[in-house]
Symmetry: C2
Subunit: 149 residues, 2 copies
DNA sequence: TCTTATTTGCAACTTAGTTGCAAATGTAGA
DNA sequence: TCTACATTTGCAACTAAGTTGCAAATAAGA
């Protein structure tokens, strides 16, 4: 069990059952990664997960591998928020309710905010404007309230 | 002058006058970078510019520096399209008309499309949903028509 | 042409992320 | 509970993108 960050509502047993649910072995590293992501306020960069968990003796390569595997298993989304750094976010576990949502990233301070309350609509300016594909993820960049002059 | 890519409507003299217009010296490297970006169908990664121009004897560090300088001078936008790779796009030169536009990136093939014809609207689901800041750039990710099953 | 500040090429460096492999460990079955 | 085996881990070495310091080259103005 690991300290720091948000209270951390995810018990050890809950983490284990989530892993078993997708047919993955319950290892200390994976549990630690899940708990770290869960305790975080916003999506974490691999670097921040590594920095955090290396303190506890986990190896960098193990953490990268865990993040990738958890992502492949569908437990974690990998966000590409556009500062040339990936971020990982734990998906809602029990309740499938929380919908996909856009993310906002401040170009000044780098803060990432989940825009859970928003839908995005693309409107063609002309009649014949045709969407280039099926959209699945939206990122909004800009200046957060703190950084706006 | 450099071959390959799109026809390339930007003459040598035009490139030079653009550089002078922002008070930058006209060097072979900068002209080559501008022409490469101009000839490209869609925003280029630094890597692709480097690969392309190194063939002509330019040094990697020079190209990175040129891209950064052209960006700082406001001639080139640096897009963070979310595959942990930056991309550079030449801004419309004479006519200031072409508006900022969203970009679409296919998560399968990596293709980037400029969604010049689109506006994006964020709609709060609830009354009290408040935007986290002032949005300035939009990225849509998804599956392009070619890659959609 | 001359002068000087700017820019370039080079090579060395940094840093994030990846990989191969032997040792450690989780899990299913006896 | 113990065993056997496939999976996972730590380590160290590696890769690749991007950066940096510096002496040589060069653009631009006088
Ligand atoms: Mn989110
Ligand atoms: Mn564009
Ligand atoms: Zn901010
Ligand atoms: Zn595609």
């Amino acid at each position: 069990m690991i300290k720091g960050g948000k209270p951390g509502r995810l018990t050890l047993e809950a983490a284990k059952s989530v892993l078993r649910g997708v047919g993955m072995r319950c290892t200390a590293a994976r549990i630690a990664v899940i708990q770290a992501l869960e305790a975080a306020e916003s999506p974490m960069t691999p670097g921040s997960v590594v920095d955090f968990l290396c303190e506890y003796g986990f190896d960098k390569s193990t953490i990268y591998r865990s993040l990738t595997e958890l992502n492949e298993a569908g437990l974690v989304v990998r966000l590409d928020l556009g500062d040339a750094v990936r971020r990982f976010e734990l998906l809602p576990l029990e309740n499938d309710g929380a919908p996909e949502h856009p993310h906002f990233m401040c170009v000044d301070c780098g803060k990432v905010v989940c825009m859970s309350g928003f839908d995005v609509e693309l409107k063609g300016r002309s009649r014949k404007a045709r969407s280039p594909g099926i959209m699945s993820e939206i990122l909004v960049r800009g200046h957060c309230h703190d950084c706006a002059t």
